[in-house]
Assembly symmetry: C2
Homo-oligomer: 245 residues x 2
Amino acid sequence: MQDHSTHVQCSECPIRHRAVCAKCESDELSRLEQIKYYRSFQAGQTIIWSGDRMDFVGSVVTGIATLTQTMEDGRRQMVGLLLPSDFVGRPGRSVAAYDVTATTDLVMCCFRKKPFEDMMAATPHIAQRLLEMTLDELDAAREWMLLLGRKTAREKIASLISIIARREAALHLRKPKGMLSVDLPLTREEMADYLGLTLETVSRQISALKKDGVIALEGNRHVQIPDIDRLLEEAGDDSDGGMLV
Amino acid sequence: MQDHSTHVQCSECPIRHRAVCAKCESDELSRLEQIKYYRSFQAGQTIIWSGDRMDFVGSVVTGIATLTQTMEDGRRQMVGLLLPSDFVGRPGRSVAAYDVTATTDLVMCCFRKKPFEDMMAATPHIAQRLLEMTLDELDAAREWMLLLGRKTAREKIASLISIIARREAALHLRKPKGMLSVDLPLTREEMADYLGLTLETVSRQISALKKDGVIALEGNRHVQIPDIDRLLEEAGDDSDGGMLV
DNA sequence: GATACTCTTTGACGCAGATCAAGTGACAGG
DNA sequence: CCTGTCACTTGATCTGCGTCAAAGAGTATC
């Protein structure tokens, strides 16, 4: 697979940045430009329900969305956390498999499915880029499975904070230096759904990490990390998880 | 994405069946034929360790393999179960991210990475087929996350049995009819690693399901399912999971 | 046929995290 | 200012599953 990532130009629309190479596919790019459109959602709004017809794919421009699965009796498990530039929707399927919810105000860049699929069939780079993104998501899902299946509540919380710190850092393209400081974009209940815990346990473990000096809280949603290595150790990860690359 | 699956011809090599369309890509197919080779492994043998250099991709021809992640203190979580025709290895990465282990005697059809990637770049169908397979895996991973995060031990066991039943049925292209009967290709410990439990809990819950008449055991590894709907209900799934399609 | 494996089952007990419940603080609206 | 709501914290208690331990069952080796 050729790497075109070095000469990608990013602009307002993340799909331009993530899914195609600007230099090599400029004509297809302009066709993508023609079929794209934007949708806005308010915090808390459900974008689409599992089982609904879904005739678009898209990527998050600003804000945060979640994918969740719900059992009949109401038990919920988050299975995806979408930050800006993340992709939603599956080419080749017309029914949503998960609830997609905006947890903050959110702007999404959408493409109607049919023309997007046509374009994908015509331009190999898009399919290849999408494959790469999907493989990354699969890796993230497998990391998540280890967390859900084998980590303690304390390790789960430490993992979540470091995952969010890592993703925010990657997003802003800045190296973490000095005292790291992270906004948690989720409520305690959403964190619980992410981690397979109850919200009470989430709250208790955050308090415990704070008492032990692993993190410091400023308000409820803002976390400061005096020692990232300490946090990663608490998370039970055997590597730095790409944090310091 | 065009659907060529209807006129695929399957033969000894699953990659032919799963990754490309025989009618449309016959010339590329013959090139795939030229670069493929087979490797055999014994039950229990580790195919590759996480962190090792991995210069091939491949797909399982016969037998069963697992992907597992291990924490420093030895806690293990299975993150992938590979049945015949499943694909291993990630184009664009040269280091294995998981331990890959043969749990039964196994034959794998391999392609050296470099020529496979060249071929993928040259033949769009391969990338598109691989994207589809990866998206399927991602869906399975997300179902698995719900299981790990929110299901009880009993539901986990019932889910595992129905998952294996479904996949075996799909493999043999036969509709389940009458008394379903399933071979569990995993030890109790491997099931525990799949489900995020201990082997003792797995054993206890299997005994409980047997006592309650949900399943019947014939030896340790062979399960009979008198009532598949009952089992699916025990699994906590809200659909039949494609069982009866 | 005895021994030594590995895989599995079953029992007794303890604990991490769920459940149930009460209380705090921030903020909006009347 | 009072009141309601929402997100969060903290406490008390319960329980599902993990841990530790022992023993049964099947298979291979000599």
